[in-house]
């Protein structure tokens, strides 16, 4: 692997994922009438907005070599907290949002601190966080509570209407904004570089003078804040709060991140890849919904097979993408030799 091509090669997984997504979309469009419409594309954005937002946070966590299992529960906690705060305690929506994000930030910081200062594995700390957030949500209320505040009505009506009944909704816009901001933060700032460095090797990062503790705390804070934001979006999406919302979202988010080409062992990955990973998952579900003939179990099996298909194809693309490059180096070596001989 020559250095010049390896800087390009880092983009290969993302490119592979994108190609896979486009191919998948094409296949769906050929299979079902009504599929290739702006409406379906916009639905894909709106319906997966909350997942996209948490997945961006998860990307940071995973690149730093960690994992955050608590995000699904944090979404559940957020929606019920907002419902209670707005409906029962009479807090104005924006104040409730702010308060929620502060709580989430503290929660994430606490998890990050536990991971760093007690040298505990992130998997377990965030698993405890998962229990804690969901448990607290139950304690707040086990009912599902509608949110009737005007703001919610406004926001859900406030969509950019496109042709064919398609709408670019507020959740979709929020996700696109988070993805863009995540790309800037991860790829263009010092903090982002530190996240990668931590994923490369915590020990080295420490020896290079990075404050490992501070960065870890910040990463988990970011993840929890984004999970809180995702909770806000979820509550907008459903105009209600429910302690059981967001169950299992952490696994979907992790899968999206990994499908997007991020290495679970840390150090490598892109926010954009995660975004495509989220779309791929959405596409699989849309496919199954459009088909509509699959029984509950066949739907699960099909999800698994499609997941395998995507990942297998991605692996294959990666493999193929690496091969021609070797030939290219040989080619240039031969050219050099020829040049030298003449």
């Amino acid at each position: 692997m020559t250095p010049a091509s390896s800087s390009v090669s880092r983009l290969v997984p993302v490119a592979a994922t994108t190609v896979v997504f486009l191919l998948g979309f094409l296949i769906c469009a050929l299979t079902f009438p009504n599929f290739a419409s702006l409406r379906v594309v916009m639905n894909l954005l709106t319906d997966n907005a909350f997942l996209g937002i948490v997945a961006v946070g998860m990307t940071f966590v995973i690149i730093s070599g960690g994992i955050d299992l608590s995000v699904g529960s944090v979404i559940g906690f957020s929606t019920i907290f907002l419902a209670l705060a707005i409906e029962r305690w009479g807090i104005p929506p924006f104040a409730a949002f702010a308060l929620l994000l502060v709580i989430c930030a503290l929660f994430g910081a606490a998890m990050g601190a536990a991971i760093e200062f007690f040298a505990l594995p992130p998997f377990i700390v965030t698993l405890a966080g998962m229990f804690l957030a969901r448990g607290t949500a139950f304690l707040l209320s086990t009912d599902s509570i509608p949110i009737t505040a005007d703001l919610y009505g406004h926001l859900s009506d406030h969509a950019i209407r496109l042709s064919g009944g398609a709408r670019l909704t507020v959740p979709a816009m929020a996700m696109l904004a988070v993805v863009a901001a995540g790309m800037v933060l991860l790829h263009l700032t010092r903090f982002g570089a530190n996240v990668y460095a931590l994923g490369g090797s915590r020990q080295s990062a420490g020896l290079m003078g990075i404050s490992v503790g501070r960065t870890t705390v910040l990463i988990y804070t970011l993840s929890s804040v984004l999970a809180g934001l995702s909770g806000i979006v979820f509550s907008l999406y459903t105009s209600s709060g429910y302690s059981l919302s967001g169950v299992g979202v952490e696994l979907d988010a992790i899968a999206a991140v990994v499908i997007g080409g991020t290495l679970l062992s840390g150090g490598y990955g892109f926010v954009f890849g995660t975004f495509v990973g989220v779309l791929i998952q959405g596409l699989i579900q849309t496919y199954i919904n459009f088909d509509g003939t699959l029984s509950s179990w066949w739907a699960k099996i099909a999800t698994g097979l499609l997941l395998f298909g995507f990942i297998g194809f991605q692996q294959f693309t990666l493999h193929m993408a690496r091969r021609p490059r070797r030939r290219a180096t040989t080619g240039s070596a031969a050219a050099n030799a020829a040049g030298a001989a003449s």
Partner: protein, 327 residues
């Protein structure tokens, strides 16, 4: 084969003892044991009996994790194998039933191992595929219903007892012994620890890392199959929708509480089982306590954190400093 329990396992064993003591406190009859229809009966036995499936799962999971892998599919594999066992039990001999169920577990493990070792897919996603699809397969077998059986042979595996000890406990102990023999009686343990610790170095040292990866996932599949059969035998039916649901998290938690790092390397089979018992002792304690169920998860979170903090090397060294200061 030496089992070095003291020193390394102190934190875990103390944690287990503490939780049992708390259980005894919230429920005074906790330590009562009597014989009921030739079977030991009591809350302490419940902890062992109910903890058996997760303990068996953790025997496979601990090896997978020691190899730097993870197996999210064990819950779904439990469901598949339970479904197979329950649907065959009444029309076939126990041997055929078990062979089919365990064979299916091995096949699932082989699939996972193939994805990880041959295709090079990251373990968490590779096994996520079977986690999602596997439950579907199990439901396909049962068509979504709870398939019941009456075969006394299979029922014995869940509700029977050997010398008064419930069969699931006996099976778990036998599997523990078998795992110890396989892992510590051969060089497999060393090779797993080496591969998990540094896969590249181990491959260069001539260890067949690919084959071992396959074997370890198959072992995990086998353990999941046994756990699935035990779970089905326990309720005399296969509940494909719920059998083993989220148990993969419990199994991973048990392994980590048992001191094995998720980054691979050193592992302890015995302590993973202790971890499973810690989790079950906590669950049973919650049930006995009479707290409203809304509290369950909060209590669980607190206990998990306390157990982990007790193990944290950082806290231990802090404790050392304090004790030094005092002296």
């Amino acid at each position: 084969m030496t089992v070095k329990l003291p020193r390394i396992g102190t934190a875990q064993i103390l944690a287990l003892a503490a939780i049992l003591a708390i259980n005894g406190f919230v429920s005074p009859q906790f330590f009562d044991i009597r014989l009921q229809d030739g079977r030991l009966f009591g809350s302490l036995i419940d902890v062992l009996n109910r903890g058996a499936p997760v303990a068996i799962l953790s025997l496979g999971m601990v090896l997978v994790i020691a190899m730097r892998g993870i197996d999210l599919s064990v819950g779904a594999v439990m469901a598949i194998c339970g479904a197979i066992a329950a649907s065959l039990a009444d029309d076939h001999s126990l041997v055929v039933t078990l062979a089919a169920a365990l064979g299916a577990g091995l096949a699932c493990g082989l699939w996972n191992g193939f994805l990880v070792a041959v295709l090079g897919i990251q373990p968490i996603v590779a096994t996520l595929i079977l986690m999602v699809a596997g439950r579907g397969i199990a439901q396909l077998i049962t068509e979504g219903r709870i398939v019941t059986f009456t075969d006394p042979g299979l029922a014995f595996l869940g509700g029977g007892s050997v010398l008064g000890v419930p069969t699931p406990v006996v099976i778990a102990l036998a599997m523990l012994a078998l795992t110890l023999i396989v892992v510590r009686g051969t060089a497999l343990g060393l090779m797993i620890e080496a591969t998990g610790g540094n896969p590249r170095a181990s491959a260069l040292a001539g260890i067949g890392t690919r084959l071992i990866t396959l074997a370890v996932y198959m072992w995990s599949g086998l353990c999941a199959a046994i756990a699935g059969v035990v779970a089905a035998a326990d309720i005399l039916g296969a509940d494909a929708n719920n059998a083993g649901l989220w148990l993969e998290l419990d199994a991973i938690l048990a392994v980590v509480i048992g001191g094995t790092s998720l980054f691979g390397g050193r592992f302890s089979v015995v302590l993973a089982v202790v971890g499973a018992l810690i989790i079950q002792a906590m669950n049973t304690g919650i049930l006995l306590s009479g707290f409203p169920p809304e509290m369950n998860l909060v209590v669980k979170a607190v206990v998990v954190l306390v157990v982990l903090l007790a193990q944290s090397p950082r806290l231990a060294s802090l404790g050392l400093i304090f004790s030094r200061r005092r002296s």
